[in-house]
Assembly symmetry: C2
Homo-oligomer: 292 residues x 2
């Protein structure tokens, strides 16, 4: 299969996105998006829906997370990742496989009706994760396109994938929120640097490959200024797989915790990695293609 | 002389500020502050004045900085500090002594009329500095009270000092702006940890002593949420010596550059350091007490 999105090469370049952002305008359920929302998503590469999950639902999810983080058997799994310079939990992967509650959330119509519509097909979960950016010392995450990694290291051939995520705490301008570059999903940054073997073991702690240069970020922000994805706990955000984003460190006294679910179209199943010699760990590239 | 603000001890504690914040309500010139501004400063420990310096003035200052940063003889001075992990210029100390332009700015009535009024006396410069937080990779600065360091390591006995600073670039929510805790200047965090010898050589790159714990920051933010000091280039900010502040890293594509001038009351000349075995370098604690 030809590679429409080459990356991890000798030099950086900026190429056009080949794929659509919105694959269908057909409503697939009560919670699908209206024309205005779809058009906003198409233009910006992300959309924020406040007040989707109630306070009670958020509390339930936080309690579930607390339970998982304190379960000594669970945290031995490789899906549980710690901060670069400490043993504090930074990420849990595939919470939907470890928890009945998060499994239910991953199939919630408030999410799936939008996701299936945007991707214009049935979908499955490529992976999911909960990111905890601890108060006072949570580290920044460099600029990246998720899809660049999923393409190069997991073999997703086309950009027909996205992330739907739920704020489990308030995301403010102070606690290390996601910064996004509106419209950046229409360009693909072909990144410099050949992927080292087993790169993911380091990149889950600190990403160094698939990170655009400052010049690429400057180019992408020529048309649009950065925005911060801010909102109260319970807010739902959907962002395109290729939208450029990163996040600063969190020196504030409030932790920032978000639950991410990566959906891929069943028409876009992973092939061999396009920019790495072998696949990442299985938990990062799930193979349960049964439509949700 | 008794120590009203003990710090760098075996354990952290929070004590009350003994000194006033505003020492005088008498106008000392055309640019003094009105009652409302003084009261805001008294309550919050800082105040932001937009549009004080014109675009032309800012350009002139930036050109002067560029000249200083590129002058190979100048940058050999110990007043020129680089980033922890690179040789990129992070800070120039005492720009008012290296540059006629910044010397003139340091005596500008738009600043001095306010400063003399707030400190209720003649003033001199304890030190000045220009901080450059480079785009994409500028590092965060941990929470601290300036006065805690000036008291412990320079011997300023009372909190009768402040910083007036000029934004030389826009300071946005994205480029590593100063976060302040309004009202925090009324409490003094007596910090844990005995000051090591020659601490300043490391602390100018990465402060590790005089940094409050997360619990202290939580306590200080109980009454007031964080604020970010945002503004266009040309904005003037005055913040009390003891207001708690810090700043996150700068992952944005825009550098953040500010010129700080630390003013101390001539009634508050430095004694022996209160929390260190010897003085910091002379350039950090200037002894030219001639009133400005």
């Amino acid at each position: 299969m030809s590679d429409l999105y080459p990356s991890r090469l000798e030099r950086e370049s900026i190429i056009d996105r080949v794929d659509p952002t919105v694959y269908s305008d057909v409503s697939v359920g009560e919670y699908s998006m209206d024309n205005i929302s779809r058009s906003e998503y198409e233009d910006n590469g992300y959309i924020v829906f406040p007040n989707i999950f109630s306070e009670d639902e958020v509390t339930e999810m936080l309690n579930e997370l607390k339970y998982m983080a304190s379960n000594e058997d669970l945290i031995k799994n490789e899906e549980f990742i710690t901060e670069p310079q400490s043993n504090q939990l930074r990420t849990i992967f595939n919470q939907h496989l470890f928890s009945t509650l998060f499994n239910k959330i991953s199939k919630d119509s408030r999410i799936l009706d939008k996701v299936k519509q945007l991707l214009g097909s049935d979908v499955y979960i490529h992976h999911s994760r909960i990111n905890i950016k601890p108060a006072y010392k949570g580290k920044s995450f460099p600029w990246h396109s998720d899809f660049e990694t999923w393409h190069c290291e997991d073999g997703l051939p086309r950009c027909r994938c996205l992330t739907a995520w739920i704020m489990l705490t308030d995301n403010t301008e102070f606690n290390g929120p996601l910064y996004l570059i509106p419209g950046s999903h229409k360009k693909y940054i072909s990144c410099k640097g050949f992927t080292p073997e087993d790169n993911y073991k380091n990149s889950l702690k600190k990403q160094e490959y698939g990170v655009p240069s400052i010049n690429a970020i400057k180019e992408l922000t020529k048309k649009n200024d950065l925005i911060g994805a801010y909102g109260k706990a319970g807010t739902l955000v959907i962002h395109d797989g290729n939208v450029m984003h990163g996040s600063p460190d969190n020196i504030s006294p409030e932790s920032r915790t978000n639950a991410f679910f990566v959906f891929n179209s069943v028409e876009n199943k992973p092939q061999k990695p396009f920019g790495a010699s072998k696949n990442r760990a299985e938990f990062l590239c799930l193979k349960d293609f049964k439509p949700l």
